[in-house]
Symmetry: C2
Subunit: 147 residues, 2 copies
DNA sequence: ATGGGTGCAAAGGTTTTGCACTCCG
DNA sequence: CGGAGTGCAAAACCTTTGCACCCAT
């Protein structure tokens, strides 16, 4: 069962880990709530906040993204474009995952729902004893329009 | 059928793409032949070459790695540790893939043979029309020793 | 011989860090 | 209040680039 992402979740997880609920952390999370399904870099978040005339330092954006990822609220990912990107995580650990597909021509990011990787993870544990807690899968190719 | 990685493969692929076979490119490839199964960064390769008293510039290492990846000889990957890493690719495009598992405690990289992702790729194409040509899957967790 | 390749150093881009100041709990 | 969090600028990285020189073809 998925828990919806709200400011309460943030507050709750911050407190549980003895962190403070600051304006900046709330503002950063809010950007992700306002931009569902996007894969934002630190610079993206910083830019969006400055557009909203929100006063925040770039270093704080980096620190907030790190923390939110650590708390499991955001998921960090590398698309190989030179910067880390973040999106709202699945809140629930055993939920179906979505994977990312990047079109090599138009550079757009597509998503695909799937639970095949769950099966693969169980396989890996059975055969090697490696216990997986997270994963990242990126597929490169050509989207319907570009191929 | 897999083609073994040799200097001949390098020579052949360079010529096919109108590039020159230089000492530096041979030396870089040689590092990977001497270090099978490792995931080397540009700095790693540079360091290993300097240990061997091979005279090469860091920029050239970067350029060679880029080129070798472009030629399909090396595979570029991001483990999220701040730099790109490379390893010898599968030479054959439709061969079984191996995935990477990174232990969050000891930071070691483990590998796992599997062809489940082939199935997933076919699935994706069928359902979304996205044609996949490459992928990267990384699993984070705890290895047998560390959990 | 000639143009691609190299080495060096400088520049570029992303992320981290030191430190004084701020403000949440 | 006190210490975690912030902002700023500097530093730390990784990677790319400009340019003069070199050397495979």
């Amino acid at each position: 069962m998925s828990e919806k992402l709200t400011m309460d979740v943030l507050k709750q997880r911050l407190q549980a880990n003895k962190h403070k609920l600051t304006t900046q952390r709330r503002t950063v999370l809010n950007v992700f709530i306002e931009h569902p399904g996007e894969h934002l870099s630190a610079e993206d978040v910083y830019g969006l906040l400055r557009e909203q005339s929100q006063d925040i330092g770039l270093a704080t954006v980096y620190r907030s993204l790190d923390l939110l990822a650590e708390l499991g609220i955001l998921q960090k990912m590398e698309f190989g474009d030179g910067c880390s990107r973040y999106e709202v995580g699945t809140m629930a650990p055993d939920e179906h995952q979505h994977h990312h597909m990047i079109c090599l021509k138009c550079k757009k990011v597509f998503e695909f729902q799937d639970d095949l990787l769950d099966k693969l993870e169980k396989d890996i544990f059975k055969k090697s004893g490696f216990r997986i807690v997270d994963h990242q899968a990126i597929f490169y190719g050509y989207c319907k329009k570009c191929q």
